[in-house]
């Protein structure tokens, strides 16, 4: 009896102290009994229904497990979220067992619950970590079937469970030849490889996969965890970058222009074959060895140091391997990042040696042509004088025959005039011929124009001609023969004055302009004088002729002018219409100007 009592007491203690919450529910969902642990967790239970205790609601739960147990009499084991007496939710593993009476009728359901909130939280946390890791994670079994896949896998590749990894990742129907998971299964080692798959929309995905053994069965690998990093963007960027680099290489290698570039430290990093062809430095002595300042032309460095804009030098010189100066046209710039930080310098240049030689040949040809025209003109000028002399002699003879003193006198005058003409013609012609080597020096091209204005100001004022000037100031010095250009401009101004004097214009005017545009130095003389007819225009440069009447002018002025202009590599052009006036324009391209002699060529 005492033993029985001890057993009952013990059973009661166990009932209350076992770390499991025990409860008994009848068919009306009433909690009819519960142990102390239950009461401690879920609070007072007497007279309450299970849903009131567990969930603090007033109606039976949908899919009530207790009701199911009453119905089928099976034991149950499941995890459920319940609220404790404070209303805090938690996870509980619950076992339900039907309690039968003597006639096997289920009268009550006995429940036991264990708090697994912490464990569930751990699992959730792991799952959350798994889902939020920025890489694809799958666990696969020996048959390559996916056991677990994280969110990124599901989102990227679509359906995952009940699929083979090759189906999910690659949309194929059999194991890949280079499957890293297979290697992990076989050798028990971790394997890495670069793989390409297709996402659920069929777009290519490139990923770096690491397959490691996950669980073992005995000494065999049972499952493998595959972790893959999506490098699609990186991969394509790298591919693109590679293509750009290849393209640049092709451009650099095939460019006909020399290209040299240096980095922020001024070390040469690019020196293309065209640059080598021009400069002849071997590649190995330049790239990584030389500095930009050793290679780039000095005028380029000076310009680039002055400002940040790209520099274009129509005429520069670069020294080759042997120190020889090569004429080049160059464009170059500092290379900058968007934030303005200098990352290097680059120059593109074209060898002008051939062009220079051709230009010189053309200039020589033009000069020869000028000589030819001069000789043709010379014979014509002599013809004119000859006719004057012949005529004079004839008139004198005729006067003697007729005994007409006045006629004799007129004839003599004619002879005298033409002898004077020979004299001045010879002087001018000698000047024309002698001045064949212009003395070139660096001068202000505008200063010459100003000299001319001073020279002709009085003459124009006396003739009632309005003499206007339009001069551009601050033009850079240019290589010119000052005497020659002076002669040219004097000739043109003097012609313009004559043209004004020959016309009936009420307000005779000469406009003398000087300006530089795009490397072309330009002198322009415009008059509103008599202008010229088509046939005069056609001939003014091609022969020694003058419209200035007897005794005035030799017809050498414009020819001399043109010769000097041609010697400066320039051209002279004009427009003219009778009664309106003429415009003469001398254009000297800086690129074609002669080179100043360092020393005067004194005999």
């Amino acid at each position: 009896m005492k033993e029985k009592s001890i057993h009952r007491d013990a059973a009661f203690d166990i009932y209350n102290e076992v770390p499991v919450k025990i409860f008994i529910i009848d068919r009306d969902y009433r909690v009819v009994s519960a142990n102390a642990k239950f009461q401690k967790t879920f609070g007072a239970w007497r007279g309450k229904k299970c849903f009131q205790v567990f969930r603090q609601i007033e109606d039976v739960c949908s899919k009530c497990k207790v009701a199911e147990t009453f119905a089928d009499g099976k034991e149950r084991n499941f995890v459920m979220s319940l609220k404790d007496r404070k209303g805090d939710p938690g996870y509980y593993r619950i076992f339900l067992t039907p309690h039968r009476d003597a006639v096997e009728k289920i009268t009550h359901v006995m429940g036991m619950s264990v708090d697994i909130t912490e464990r569930e939280r751990d699992i959730e946390q792991h799952k959350s970590i798994l889902d939020n890791v920025p890489c694809f994670i799958t666990v696969i079994d020996k048959d390559f079937k996916i056991l677990t896949a994280n969110k990124l896998v599901r989102e990227t590749f679509g359906k995952d469970l009940d699929m083979y990894c090759f189906e999910s990742y690659k949309k194929r129907s059999e194991v890949c030849e280079d499957c890293p998971a297979r290697l992990a299964f076989q050798g028990g080692q971790t394997h890495n490889s670069l793989q390409e798959g297709y996402d659920k929309e069929g777009k290519k995905v490139v990923y770096m996969v690491t397959a490691s053994p996950h669980t073992m069965k005995g000494d065999k690998v049972d499952s493998v965890i595959e972790m893959a990093l999506d490098i699609t963007k990186t991969f394509f960027l790298e591919k693109e970058l590679g293509e750009v680099r290849d393209f640049q290489d092709v451009v650099l290698h095939n460019a006909t222009d020399g290209i040299i570039a240096s980095n922020a430290d001024d070390t040469i990093t690019i020196y293309n074959p065209a640059a080598k062809k021009i400069l002849k430095y071997p590649f190995e002595t330049v790239i990584g060895k030389k500095r930009g300042k050793e290679m780039y032309p000095r005028d380029f460095i000076e310009s680039i140091n002055k400002g940040s804009r790209p520099v274009i030098l129509q005429e520069s010189k670069i020294r080759d391997y042997k120190g020889k100066e090569i004429p080049i046209i160059l464009s170059g710039t500092r290379l900058k990042k968007r934030n303005g930080k200098i990352v290097g310098t680059v120059i593109f240049f074209h060898d002008l040696s051939d062009i220079k030689r051709l230009e010189k040949e053309v200039l020589d040809a033009e000069r020869l042509a000028a000589v030819g025209q001069t000789v043709a003109g010379l014979s014509h000028g002599i013809k004119n004088i000859l006719m004057g002399l012949e005529g004079g002699v004839y008139v004198v003879n005729s006067g003697i025959k007729r005994d007409d003193n006045a006629l004799v006198h007129q004839g003599w005058n004619m002879i005298q005039n033409n002898i004077e003409k020979i004299s001045s013609f010879t002087k001018e012609f000698l000047g024309f011929a002698r001045g064949s080597t212009p003395k070139v020096e660096m001068i202000d091209p505008c200063a010459i124009a100003k000299d001319i204005v001073n020279l002709y100001r009085d003459a124009t004022r006396q003739s009632g001609i309005h003499f206007k000037t339009k001069f551009q100031e601050k033009v850079e010095e240019a290589a010119m023969d000052p005497k020659g250009i002076h002669t040219c401009l004097a000739n043109l101004i003097s012609n313009a004055i004559d043209a004004c004097l020959m016309s009936d214009t009420k307000n005779p005017e000469i406009v003398f302009s000087f300006f530089e545009k795009k490397g072309i130095i330009c002198y322009e003389i415009k008059d509103n004088g008599c202008g010229m007819d088509y046939d005069i225009k056609k001939k003014i440069f091609t022969n020694f002729f003058t419209t200035k009447g007897s005794g005035q002018g030799t017809g050498l002025g414009l020819l001399t002018t043109r010769k000097i202009v041609q010697e400066h590599g320039g051209k002279i052009s004009f427009t003219s219409s009778p009664g309106v006036g003429s415009v003469f324009r001398v254009e000297l391209s800086r690129r074609r100007l002669p080179v100043p002699k360092e020393e005067d060529e004194q005999p």
Partner: protein, 140 residues
């Protein structure tokens, strides 16, 4: 008009160069031609209308208006267009005004080319022979 006396043929010289005018004038007078001179195209036109010459010697390159312009005006003038013209060219063969060169300068096909072309220095014998031919002057 007097019978028995042959009327002297009248020649108008248009040239801006005084030397040329004096030379031609003397030569023509020595060969019994009556002459008059004008020193530019406009006064030449005026003189032509007043003087009604039998022939005109015409310089091409003159200030203000060229001989070409004058020739065109002359040929378009009802009273003057039949007057024969001899061109004196001071500027070489290119201005010989023969054939196509003339047509380039005066595209109007109604205008006939000048009868004579003379270059400086003048070949006097050829010039006189030309005048005799054109003006039938040899009988004087």
């Amino acid at each position: 008009m007097c019978y028995g006396l042959q009327v002297m043929k009248k020649i108008l010289i248009i040239d801006d160069e005084l030397d040329v005018v004096l030379y031609l004038k003397t030569v023509l007078e020595d060969h019994n031609y009556e002459t008059r001179a004008a020193y530019d195209a406009d006064s030449g036109m005026k003189a032509a209308l007043e003087y009604m010459p039998d022939l005109i010697f015409l310089d091409i390159v003159m200030p203000k208006k060229s001989g070409i312009s004058f020739y065109k005006e002359l040929k378009e003038h009802r009273c003057l267009r039949d007057i024969p013209v001899a061109v004196i060219s001071g500027v070489g063969n290119a201005y010989g005004l023969r054939g196509s060169t003339f047509r380039n300068l005066i595209p109007d096909s109604n205008i006939t080319a000048p009868q004579g072309f003379f270059e400086k220095p003048l070949d006097i014998d050829a010039l006189i022979k030309f005048l005799d031919g054109v003006l039938d002057h040899s009988k004087l």
